[in-house]
Symmetry: C2
Subunit: 703 residues, 2 copies
């Protein structure tokens, strides 16, 4: 404690409350983030993941740039008037219904720039036919921002153009800190890619303004973001600058959240802030102006025992907490565990309550679609969960966190874009119903998900593994089985390399080639996923006391080759009983499967949305190699027939049936069920319908 100050300290600012900061806690820069490491890994473009990335670098980035131009956000930093601002002008600039979509435009631009910089950093990204256009757009946008920045450092379109007086007066609703955080992450990405400090310097100036204005000091506003994002971005900045003020600010933003401030009459900040505005409006997802659950300020993080509210806000907050000191890291683990154990779909989808785009209050409320009472599973929430997993893994290897990260990536996240790179999902329901279909959309008024997807795919090399050198031992922790090569820069200036070839996510065959200069050795941790059967490792791993749950440990010489094989038989998964669902999900390895009408035309025509169809729990499946777009994958066909629910028995009011008399409940159809990977749904037709989990047919229930 106390020896952290280095570099300039602004004399006009209250000193950070350093006594709260635990110097024994690992600092973020000691656990390099994918944003800092991704460029060291080249992903094999012919591999599964490589092919997916190509869709992003060659198609998605361009689609998104076009949409930004079309939507108006691209031009927003020119500070002209856009007709979409009119609705707020009529409302006197007040947020009276909902956060208007134009509020987020700054972040949309930021996330696009960030993603573009990631792809421009990679060999495969550099080959994009749109490279010149992207570079030109980045330069143009940064130039706009430089001109748009106010003299005090403030950078934000809405409060520069529409509501000048309202600047930084409604942190709860107006997303200024959210936008700042994304612009900051973009600036860091830009700096790393280009070496240029132009954008970064802009953001440093804005951050200085925010650090001066907000904090625990007597003359500061005790505010924090309504939508968490700035906290984690500032910690990414800290990893770059090593400026303790940046760490302290990130810590403050997380630790202050939800406090009932004595200096504010015992009120939480947002309630006090609304009073200053004489504003009685509260967000539609809040029960009252004091209701902090939606934005996770109902209590300080230490006192939150269950994850609540808007899922992306919650998980961005947890991401930041997982990069801070011991107690906040514990809070992060507790809330993340509640999320993944009690409030997550098998597809890695998170958030079952559409009205609040977030969590049910109670555990195990996981309706698969609108007719079951909800299902949201926002793409951004699964990405956020990956971010938490990665930070937790950076502290401590865990098979559980790894499996969750992979499950999110290969199902809910990967499915977020069509395989032609042109359309996207915001909501990822497990089943359609009524008049719904499973189509993706060209774009969204609130378009946070597509650019979030793109930057995640841009960072993919950083999610693959982490490497750290201590003395002469290179530690390599593998997160994802992928095909790629990583250069490890050694302190001596020499380089080592790890190269993995893997047939995952379709087959367990993997080879890992390690090369280091003489005198070095490797300490490698290899995942043994929960779904892997007959797991074989060559050379054999260390004795079990060196194992981490879900991981095998190997101590290897400078030049080594490791072979891994494992099987992934199809398995049927039952949800927790408290979901009140007696259903089955079908998985093979990390891939969860879904049935779409495209492959099951006759069956689904007779049973719209596959409603009323069930599977025996003894159902087995045949694997079918297939391809959608240019992505090869494995499909499944059931070897047994599907069953349909029969309602036999005397009917009563309320559409109920008298049971008994030995009448059977399920009748066998002459139909098999054809399944595709959930991420690959809705790529081959429009207007399709789907179902992911099917009622379980008990053996005694069939004719």
């Amino acid at each position: 404690m106390g020896n952290l100050i280095s570099g300039p300290v602004a004399t006009s600012m209250e000193p950070p409350i350093i006594e709260e900061l635990d110097s024994s806690a690992s600092r973020p820069y000691e656990r390099p983030h994918p944003q800092e490491t991704f460029h060291q890994t080249v992903i094999d473009t012919d591999s599964f993941y490589g092919k997916i990335r190509t869709v992003y670098s060659e198609r998605v980035l361009k689609t998104q740039l076009d949409q930004l131009r079309k939507q108006g956000s691209y031009e927003a930093f020119k500070l002209g008037w856009h007709p979409k601002y009119d609705v707020q002008k009529l409302q006197g600039g007040k947020c009276t219904i909902y956060s208007p979509p134009t509020l987020f435009w700054d972040s949309d631009v930021g996330k696009w720039i960030e993603a573009a910089c990631y792809f421009l950093s990679s060999p495969d990204g550099k080959r994009s036919p749109h490279t010149a256009e992207f570079i030109s757009a980045i330069d143009e946008l940064i130039a706009m921002m430089a001109k748009a920045q106010q003299s005090d450092g403030y950078l934000g379109t809405y409060f520069t153009v529409v509501d000048k007086a309202g600047k930084l007066k409604n942190l709860r609703d107006m997303h200024e800190m959210y936008n700042c955080g994304h612009l900051l992450e973009a600036a860091l990405a830009h700096h790393r890619w280009s070496g240029d400090r132009k954008f970064l310097n802009l953001m440093l100036k804005y951050i200085d303004l925010l650090m001066k204005t907000f904090g625990p000091g007597k003359n500061q506003l005790h505010g924090y973001p309504g939508h968490p994002e700035l906290e984690l971005a500032v910690l990414r900045l800290y990893s770059e600058t090593r400026d303790p003020r940046h760490y302290a600010f990130g810590h403050y933003l997380v630790a202050a959240r939800g406090k009932r401030e004595t200096s504010l009459g015992g009120k939480p900040f947002f309630v006090w802030e609304a009073e200053q505005r004489k504003d009685t409006f509260f967000h539609a997802s809040m029960a009252s102006i004091d209701d902090g659950r939606y934005h996770q300020w109902h209590a300080p993080l230490h006192e939150q025992d269950t994850i609540l509210g808007h899922s992306v806000r919650a998980l961005y907050l947890v991401t930041a907490a997982s990069d801070l000191d011991g107690k906040l890291l514990d809070d992060a683990k507790r809330l993340w565990s509640d999320c993944v154990d009690n409030k997550m779909y098998p597809t890695g989808g998170i958030g079952s309550i559409p009205d609040i785009e977030g969590f049910s209050e109670i555990p195990h409320f996981l309706p698969n679609g609108h007719d079951e009472g909800g299902c949201y599973a926002e793409t951004c929430a699964s990405i956020a969960c990956m971010m938490v997993c990665e930070r937790l893994l950076s502290h401590e290897l865990s098979g559980n966190a790894r499996d969750v990260m992979e499950r999110c990536l290969l199902n809910n996240v990967l499915g977020g874009a069509s395989l032609d790179g042109k359309q996207f999902y915001y909501v990822n329901r497990l089943a359609t119903c009524g008049d719904e279909n499973a189509d993706r959309s060209d774009w969204f008024e609130v378009c946070c998900c597509p650019p979030n997807l793109t930057r995640t795919m841009g960072l993919l090399g950083g999610y693959m593994w982490s490497a750290k050198t201590k003395g002469k031992t290179i530690s390599l922790n593998v997160y994802l089985y992928m095909s790629g090569k990583r250069i490890v820069e050694l302190p001596s200036g020499e380089k080592a390399a790890a190269e993995m070839q893997s047939e995952m996510p379709w087959q367990g065959r993997t080879t890992l080639k390690l090369q280091a200069p003489e005198g070095y050795d490797w300490s490698v941790r290899i995942p043994e996923p929960e779904y892997a059967e007959d797991f074989k490792l060559s050379p054999s791993d260390l004795s079990p006391q060196n194992h981490v749950g879900g991981y095998r440990s190997l101590a290897l010489p400078a030049q080594s080759t490791v072979s891994i094989t494992f099987d992934m038989p199809v398995r049927l998964l039952a949800p927790h009983p408290a979901t009140h669902q007696d259903t089955l999900a079908i998985a093979r390895g990390p891939i969860v499967y879904t049935a779409e009408s495209y492959d099951n035309t006759r069956l689904e025509e007779a049973h719209r949305h596959f409603e009323g169809l069930g599977l025996l729990e003894t159902t087995t499946f045949v694997e079918v190699p297939m391809q959608i777009g240019n992505i090869p994958m494995i499909g499944l066909i059931s070897q047994q027939n599907v069953y349909e629910k029969t309602i036999s028995g005397k009917k009563e009011i309320g559409s109920m049936t008298v049971v008994g008399g030995g009448k059977k409940r399920w009748g066998e159809l002459e139909e098999k069920l054809r399944l595709v990977p959930f991420f690959a749904r809705s790529n081959r037709d429009k207007g399709g319908r789907l179902r992911t989990m099917f009622p379980r047919v008990a053996v005694s229930d069939v004719e």
Copy 2:
């Protein structure tokens, strides 16, 4: 058409649009309402229903009067300031959050007066120890109202005391017409009981004001009630006055609802009305200011194909429609059928979405409790359903409508008050969860349910049967098997009598004694409920071509005795497959059963809220005579054991389990399940927990 005008026509009012009125449709007064007929039936006080009514006449009415005094509503018509008005004063009288509870005070007073008048009309009610106090209160309240009435006829506390300028300017939210309707029903009841016209004349003056102000005419406001109630009340008034303006007004109020008015620029009335107020606020249950589903103005009734929104509003509207002409009657039938077939619990509970106190958009969304995604089942909604059933039966006998009415009455409605008459339910969940218990409440801020219950119980004789004489034939349609005697006034001035003794709802043994003067005969319709087995009628009924579905028809001489017997074996009911619930409800006759912790202490201690417990669908039950309070009833004990869900198998992320390998899902416990009638729940202890529907255990799923 056109010959309906009789009595005075206000020259300052636009003529009613009589051309829209179908003169061939039966008028409400041709189908006398329970409010008009109840007093002709004396219910046997020693019978089940009689004992229940005694709780109301001797306890509930008094409890409610005390609560009205305590709450402030009793004094409200003195027009003094009440502290509870302060919150609205601060808001400038505007409805900014929700309809403040004080808005409904007028209706609470009205419903209490109405109920008191019903009980004071009956022999059993007259015996109440509080009779003098009730009569005194009625007189006092009427005197207050006489003084409180404005010179133009307006009668309403809120807009006389709190917001004078806002009178009749926000029909959508401010419940003025709702209050008026209930006061009108009270005035009719008062007149019938006392012969006095004082109260009725007050209300006639108010109705005149409303008929002048609102209507289809060029100089009229095209408004209708935000909360339906006035429509059906005005039709009750019409039955009394036979004044065609009253019928036309009721018809207008229903038919105008949801129209996009050309004279209002194509807007629906409430949108136009809000613009006049320069008011952008809309109710929390609406998606936008144009969203009419909550209040059923999203389209004219003819175009509404599914029942939506707030369930009491919807069903009061349907009640009124069922008393109007052919097309509106068809609309009523369509929406009522959607309600009872697709959106009703086996307990007769209606409304699964707590946030809107109403219907799911989709059919068969019937979560049993909070952890399943909802369940509201407001007491008032089941009462409203009974009201619709009765009106439908008044048009045409139907076993279905009768069964529904009885199911609502004997389960969700009857359970609305504790058997000691002191506490009430607003919400009637089928299962508790989390920190909930099944306790009733002393009162509610919005206390519509208790007085609604009381007036329904006061009217019970009118729900029992209906009688009509044509020539020398007395038609008697039995609705409910009860013990009571009805006098039928014949056109000649003579009297006939029907006396029923029934052991229902516990046993099917019923005797019906009919006595008419010489020369008369009876045409009797006896229910054959859907749950009745081995139904025997003596004398035998007419040949089947005279049958109505669910009814047996008898032609009988002036002096006759009919004997009915039927069995009611316990039956297990499965919900519709589209509910996604594989559960069982337990019923015996019209009574649905529930398990409470009081009778199942050991079992429920180990499985809180009976969570995770299931029943074989072959479970049989032993009947156990019991008594709660002074009400004898039949309880049930399962003859087979209860099962608990076992989670065996490899666990995976997201709390899922890999299935297969022949592991069984249910383990047998050494415990039977004890059940009580749903209406009788929560009478013997505080803090209890309950469950009504249990997962079905398939035979192949047990060890």
